[in-house]
Amino acid sequence: MEPKNRSKIQIKKYSFYYGDFEALRNINIDIPENQVTAIIGPSGCGKSTFLRSINRMNELIPDVHTKGELFMEDMSLFDMDVVNLRKRVGMVFQRPNPFPKTIYDNVAYGPRAHGIRDRGILDEIVEQSLRSAVLWNEVKDHLQKSGLALSGGQQQRLCIARALAVEPEVILMDEPASALDPIATLRIEELIRELAVNYTIVIVTHNMHQAGRVSDHTAFFSMHKDRAGYLVEFGPTRQIFTRPEKQLTEDYVTGRFG
């Protein structure tokens, strides 16, 4: 029952600083390919900082620096062209953020930005991406309607379709369901499981139960006394949720933390 997949992203001795403040200290993780890896931990432990490191989004913030290495399939992320990196590593955010454009144009945005102009090809990409995001049947007759006219859950699936349209290999998700109602949340979770067949997914969630439901592997982060985030334990979710190795993990997953 334990799937053995090769690692897609390797994080080695990675530390991250906002100015003098060390937000992440000495993180080592191999993220398995075509699986869901969940990052859990208390607020402020660096989960989102860690996630944004994987597509180098943190570089947009002034006065940050890093130590250590991040690799995707043995190539350093820091040696990669950032546009190419973000094509290969897509991202979905906490609040659904469709562009104020039609459903069609939202999904076609990325492919167009990468130079695709052929209407037939774009049509195909839009349909395929919406199908993969399990939204096609709900919107196929309204592709020219504004993306903002959709419900919250549909908007989030539209954002996932938009991320899929540039054919990424990795999808980062930062609390993708926290702004959604329980039914829309379960629907997103179902979708995440389906996507894991073809994509490597890293999801940050403050909802520990969600991590249990959707992920194959779980990384538990916590904070040192000086508030630097660190990795406490990383392992198969089935193990983290039934017999974690560290007492701190046990305390967190059983709700006895802090």
């Binding site: 029952m1 039914i183 379960l186 629907r187 179902e190 499981r193 139960h209 249990g212 439901r213 959707v214 979710t237 089935r238 949720f241 039934t242």
Partner: protein, 227 residues
């Protein structure tokens, strides 16, 4: 709304439960057969084979706990998983009874088998049939059948009493058979206990289906004055 992972996990667990049930059935059949045939090698093999049943049960238990921990089952799903845990335990104990029957053969050594043993295969057959029906009822969440199946325990008890009576007759007629008769009595007792555990499985089926924990009467409660 689907719960793909949870539904798939429950289905896998039910498949595992079915495998465990067939292992117990086979162990019981073969243990009784080896005893009747006085086949020491087969009994020794079945005795050791019980470890496989125990391992299966522990694996199933762990998978069940993992599903509960990661998928947060509620209501019917939770009752189903709790029942799977219980039934896996019942099956494992039934495997122990089969192992006990294998042991009886080994303990009898060169002693001839008491004649009363002729009813053992029939007793095993009824018990195994009850087990099959009870697991099927559980898979179908069939509370109606679950209430009916334990009634067949009367036949198991009748056969048990018949074996007991015949063994006593043999012991009176031929005191040299006392040792062997005692051992055989033990084998019959194990089958009788297995049938009682089928009743427990049926109780779990009713719990899974209806959410009610009820005690199904087994036939030996002529001694139960409370109710």
């Amino acid at each position: 709304m689907k719960r793909t992972t949870l539904d798939r996990n429950i289905k896998t667990l039910l498949d595992e439960l079915l495998v465990l049930e067939s292992m117990v059935k086979e162990a019981t059949f073969k243990a009784v057969d080896a005893l009747i045939q006085r086949d020491m090698d087969a009994s020794r093999f079945m005795y050791i084979q019980d470890r496989q049943i125990n391992k299966r049960r522990f694996d199933l238990e762990l998978d069940c706990l993992i599903t509960i921990a990661t998928q947060q089952p509620i209501a019917g799903d939770l009752r189903m998983l709790a029942s799977i845990l219980e039934i896996a335990g019942e099956l494992e104990r039934m495997g122990d009874y089969a192992k006990g029957i294998a042991r009886v053969n080994m303990m009898l050594k060169e002693k001839p088998l008491p004649k009363a043993s002729k009813d053992l295969p029939q007793m095993a057959s009824v018990t195994i049939h009850m087990l099959e029906q009870s697991i099927q009822a559980f898979l179908n969440k069939d509370a109606v059948s679950a209430r009916e199946i334990p009634k067949q325990d009367d036949e198991v008890d009748r056969l048990f009493n018949q074996i007991y009576f015949n063994l006593v007759q043999e012991m009176i007629a031929e005191p040299g058979t006392i040792d062997a008769s005692n051992h055989l009595q033990w084998a019959a007792h194990n089958l009788e206990r297995m049938a009682d555990r089928v009743t427990n499985i049926c109780e779990r089926t009713i719990f899974a289906a209806e959410g009610k924990i009820i005690e199904l009467d087994s036939s030996d409660d002529q001694w139960d004055q409370s109710g």
